[in-house]
Amino acid sequence: MVKIKYIEHNGKEHVVEVQNGLTVMEGAVQNDIPGIDADCGGSMSCATCHVYVKEDWYNKLPKKEMGEDDMLDQAYEPNSNSRLSCQIMVSDDLDGLSVYMPEKQV
């Protein structure tokens, strides 16, 4: 279990404990945190679990796999801090991670 902070676009923060082995997307969906839609259910086939991760954490995350950037092209306002939260696997290394939600997903 690690603590992850989800920050809505309006600044509202949600800190929840997420089990190792789940994804950051699943942590949000299972805890009813608004702002992450995850329409495709985590198969990297949509871009509705898009989050921004600030540099300090961004560089510590496991690198993007093939295809993630292609999906991010189709996200709402992606930038170089963008990740798909379904592709970030939770582990002890991520304790204290903060992710920022875009204004909207679709």
Partner: protein, 337 residues
């Protein structure tokens, strides 16, 4: 007005198998889908990706699954209404009047919503100012390419649609291609071609830029693009095209008076009927305790919803359960001996 026993909204695997089940029990149906092809997410999102959890099919792609389902319902000759979207549902004397965007009308006692996560729509520009020109100078698909002849066109995107149109339109228009990073996800041959055209100054290529604003009094005059570090450029253009893929929107389904739980429709698990009599929801779009978003669950839900439809389509008949292996009636319907 087309009269039918059921209208199925959505031609994905769940909708297709529900059609099969309706056919097996002797009912008719009409199938409507917003996409221009049959298969839903299986075709639009992952035609080439293998699926490993279809019972008795160790591995198949989305495209193979769709083709097999189509083969399975072939004996029933059901009609598909593609490129069309169910817009409005109204109740008239225990029948639903179903209207589509193209103006088609159906009269039916049953509507089965198998709409996945909603209908696929093009993702639009995030800039508010782009809305003003939506459909005139800001476009997300091309119906008539001749309108771009001798004009300046800014194309946004990094996938095949963006690259193909940039190459095609560069023959007769002044094309700028703008993409948020310097890698493209289009076919390698198209990427190569784009780079050649850019080196020959036939296409203006701007990578690591995205849209900031569109400007114009009455008609579109300029598009402003920005890099991530805040630098911006103005391009004089007549048209702005965006190719960012498709997103799924619940769309008009939200207006039909159905109970909604987030983006899903709650149903009972006996026949997958919603809070409205004669409207059923199956597949990814429905929710109930223990719901799994698996194709196989959609098949089960479709089979039970079809029996639910029977009650309203044949109110004076009693439904008889039969096996396809043993029933001559079913074999007749399938055209097998």
């Amino acid at each position: 007005m087309i009269k039918t026993d059921a209208v199925i909204v959505g031609a994905g695997p769940t909708g297709l198998f529900c059609a099969h089940q309706l056919g097996i029990i002797g009912l008719t149906c009409e199938i409507v889908d917003n996409l221009d092809k049959i298969g839903g997410q299986c075709i639009e999102l992952y035609p080439d990706k293998p699926i490993y959890d279809i019972p008795a099919v160790p591995e198949c792609t989305g495209e193979e699954l769709t083709n097999s389902l189509l083969e399975q319902i072939k004996p029933f000759n059901f009609n598909f209404h593609l490129n069309d979207r169910v817009q409005e549902l109204t109740n008239e004397n225990n029948n639903w009047i179903v209207k589509t965007t193209s103006g088609k009308k159906f009269q039916t006692p049953n509507v089965v919503i198998a709409g996945g996560v909603g209908s696929f729509e093009p993702r639009k520009f995030p800039t508010k100012s782009a809305e003003k020109f939506d459909g005139t100078a800001v476009l997300y698909s091309i119906k008539d390419k001749t309108i771009f002849k001798d004009k300046s066109v800014a194309i946004f995107g990094g996938g095949d649609s963006a690259l193909d149109w940039a190459i095609e339109l560069s023959n007769t228009s002044k094309v700028s291609l703008i993409h948020r990073r310097d890698e493209f996800r289009g076919a390698p041959s198209s990427v190569k071609k784009i780079k050649e055209l850019s080196e020959k100054n036939i296409i203006n290529l701007f990578t690591k830029y995205s849209i900031k604003d569109v400007k114009g009094n009455g008609s579109l005059e300029e598009v402003e693009i920005k890099s991530e570090d805040g630098e911006s450029k103005l391009l004089k253009v007549d048209y702005v095209l965006g190719f960012f893929g498709l997103i799924m929107q619940l769309g008009p389904i939200a207006e039909w008076g159905l109970n909604l739980d987030k983006k899903a429709i709650p149903v009972n698990t006996e026949n997958f009927e919603t809070n409205k009599k004669g409207i059923f929801a199956i597949g990814d779009i429905c929710t109930y305790p223990g719901k799994l978003k698996l194709i196989l669950s959609g098949f089960h839900e479709g089979a039970l919803a079809a029996r639910g439809c029977f009650k309203y389509a044949r109110p004076n008949e009693k439904y008889r359960f039969e096996f396809t292996t043993a029933s001559n009636t079913i074999k007749d319907r399938l055209g097998v001996k």
